[in-house]
């Protein structure tokens, strides 16, 4: 037996800091037979100067043992609840079937971004030469894959009962409004690693993500959707770590060299505006798509951007960083954004994979209270007109296709910063071609990188060029209906997935299966 003669006391537990340092310091090495600049070919071309990668600190100092332990706990908790939800027909406990449309938008527009984030962080993890930065990126890549999987798994249960949820990845790559999130993320992924991490970790996750997840999850809970609250919270527990990393990353870059400051400021301006335009979809979800509403878009913007974001940028002022350009335009738009967006989707509902509807009288009252300066005067009359049309059996829909902004790819429905009755158009000429923008923010972004944005895959242009038909389609055949063919190409179940909610398959099934009215009182 080789028992020690003098039994030793168990080693003292390492402090959090020592433990983290052991994980992240000295793990990398200087290459000998290949130049380091060739091994890490992408972390210099953006002009960011890093002198000491060891100054990178993960704020939570999460080590691998703790990571797997807590992630494992989160997964067990999530799947136990998802099981209980399915076994108890939880899908019928939501307020009414209108609510399901928020899930359709989420699964087709947001969950694929989780997967994109997984790929993006795997890429930056490869491209940074600092060890602790690579470990942080690795953990986040795994987190994001988990989010994509748990969302697909949880929402797949709803797919057994409701339309529009059957093929999110196919739709993501094709459908007109989904090119908004898709192009946003591909813009970030095709930038360098420092721009990617500033765009996603800081501008999106730290500055803007509260506007997506806080009201979305609280809204899901309020509307009785136990499954979504659960995957949402499970993802968000990782997200709070990602947000913190976002702030830490930006501080690290700014502290490394004063030359980094103007580069970062330019990215903050760009990615604030890109992210804000993406959130247009969230604004209409909050104000129109949640049958029971938690807070208005304007309130959320005030709380999470104007106050929290304001505090953040006050803090960053010591580095010479200012508020992102055009933040004041976003504040001017807060009383109209959701109304303009929902009206546009109402117009083009027949070409979407989710339903739209005119808000109920009680909802219009709520909207008027939340938007006293705009709703009754500017938006209510339009809804009342549409409601009358619908009652006459002439539900309005728009037979043409909208012009899209070359940068954010949102249809050009936004209005002038100082005139909510006038559509905002901007244009520029580049290499003898004309390009159109929804705002000065998007026009500036184009102006800084025109070579990138002239390549944008704009769904409406692509449809008109004949690139959105299934293989083998003959557009010259007699009786050819281009729009019907495009919807087939999108993978929609035409006549089920989109269009008016009242009288839809979802609405009829809801009443038949639950005995409850299609629109909750």
């Amino acid at each position: 037996m080789n028992m020690p003669i003098t039994p030793q006391k168990p080693a003292k537990k390492l402090s959090l800091k020592d433990n983290y340092n052991l994980l992240t310091r000295g793990l990398g090495w200087e290459t000998s037979y290949q130049d380091m600049d060739k091994v890490f070919a992408q972390d210099k071309f953006e002009g960011i100067k890093i002198h000491d990668w060891d100054k990178w600190e993960d704020p939570f100092r999460l080590t691998m043992d703790a990571y797997w332990k807590y992630q494992g706990e989160k997964e067990k908790k999530l799947y136990a609840i998802v099981d209980a939800f399915q076994q108890n027909n939880g899908q019928f406990n939501v307020t009414d079937a209108r609510y399901i449309n928020t899930l359709k938008l989420f699964l087709t527009g947001v969950s694929p971004l989780e997967y994109q984030a997984h790929r993006g962080f795997a890429m930056v993890g490869r491209n940074f030469r600092g060890t602790s930065a690579r470990i942080a990126a690795q953990m986040q890549a795994i987190d994001e894959l988990r989010h994509a999987q748990t969302q697909a798994h949880t929402i797949s249960h709803y797919n057994k009962f409701f339309s529009g949820l059957h093929d999110p990845t196919h739709m993501f790559d094709r459908v007109w409004y989904l090119s908004v999130p898709k192009s946003y993320f591909e813009d970030a992924m095709s930038a360098g690693p420092f721009e990617f991490i500033t765009a996603i970790s800081f501008s999106f996750e730290y500055v803007l993500t509260n506007l997506l997840f806080m009201p979305f999850m609280s809204g899901a809970a309020y509307n009785g959707d136990m499954a979504t609250v659960t995957f949402g919270f499970s993802a968000q527990s990782d997200e709070s770590r990602h947000m913190t990393l976002g702030l830490e990353v930006v501080k690290f870059i700014l502290e490394q060299d004063p030359d980094n400051v103007p580069i970062v400021q330019k990215w903050l301006d760009k990615w604030f505006w890109r992210g804000y335009r993406l959130l247009t979809l969230v604004s209409m979800m909050m104000d129109y798509m949640l049958p029971k509403k938690v807070m208005s878009w304007a309130e959320a913007w005030e709380m999470y951007f104007e106050q929290n974001g304001g505090a953040l940028f006050n803090d960053l002022a010591r580095y010479g960083i200012r508020m992102p350009k055009y933040h004041e335009v976003a504040s001017k738009e807060k009383h109209r954004l959701s109304h303009e967006a929902w009206a546009t989707f109402y117009n083009f509902s027949h070409a979407a994979a989710f339903h739209t509807w005119v808000p109920e009288e009680s909802e219009m009252k709520w909207l008027a209270e939340k938007y006293p300066t705009t709703f009754d005067s500017l938006y209510r009359p339009r809804f009342e007109h549409w409601r009358e049309q619908q009652q006459k059996g002439e539900r309005f829909s728009n037979g043409t296709l909208p012009m899209l902004c070359q940068v954010c790819q949102v249809p050009m429905f936004f209005t002038e910063p100082d005139d909510p009755t006038k559509i905002c158009f901007r244009e520029t000429t580049y290499r003898d071609e004309k390009f159109h923008f929804c705002s000065d923010g998007c026009k500036d972004i184009f102006g800084n990188e025109p070579e990138k944005y002239v390549q944008a895959w704009l769904p409406v242009h692509q449809i008109y060029q004949g690139n959105c038909f299934r293989p083998g389609t003959d557009p010259t055949a007699p009786g050819f209906e281009p729009l019907a063919e495009v919807l087939q190409y999108y993978g929609f179940h035409v006549g089920e997935d989109g269009g008016e909610y009242l009288g839809s398959l979802d609405a009829r099934n809801w009443t038949q299966w639950t005995g409850k009215p299609a629109v909750a009182e």
């Binding site: 402090s15 959090l16 800091k17 704020p59 939570f60 100092r61 999460l62 703790a66 807590y70 706990e73 989160k74 908790k77 509260n210 997840f213 806080m214 999850m217 609280s218 809204g219 809970a221 309020y222 609250v229 919270f233 968000q236 527990s237 997200e239 709070s240 770590r241 947000m243 913190t244 702030l247 830490e248 501080k251 938690v294 106050q307 929290n308 304001g310 505090a311 953040l312 006050n314 803090d315 010591r318």
Partner: protein, 97 residues
């Protein structure tokens, strides 16, 4: 001359509402005199002007067992401010304070 006293920028932390976080919220209220607690469906948010501290010992006193501050991750929803974390406490703050 009178100085204008402006409220300090707030930091915040938000948790899921559940049995685990009830004691955490209580501990934060005990350690931060200026804490403002807002309850939303399924979510609780605590804001403090300038600086917020979460102390391990206060939580341990309330739950009656050893607590690793990293357990906070399980129920965390969102957070703002710069973070300083040690084995004993987690501090959120804005730098001007």
């Amino acid at each position: 001359m009178s100085a204008v006293i402006k409220e300090k920028d707030r930091v915040f932390v938000a948790f899921q509402t559940n049995d685990d976080t009830r004691s955490i919220v209580e501990a934060i209220e005990a350690d931060n005199a200026e804490a403002i607690v807002s309850r939303y469906p399924a979510m609780v948010k605590i804001e403090v002007p300038g600086r917020l501290v979460i102390r391990r010992e206060t939580i341990e006193d309330l739950i009656g067992r050893a607590y690793d501050l990293r357990e906070l991750h399980i129920n965390l929803i969102s957070i703002s401010g710069n973070i300083e974390e040690s084995d004993d406490e987690l501090v959120l703050h804005w730098n001007q304070h």
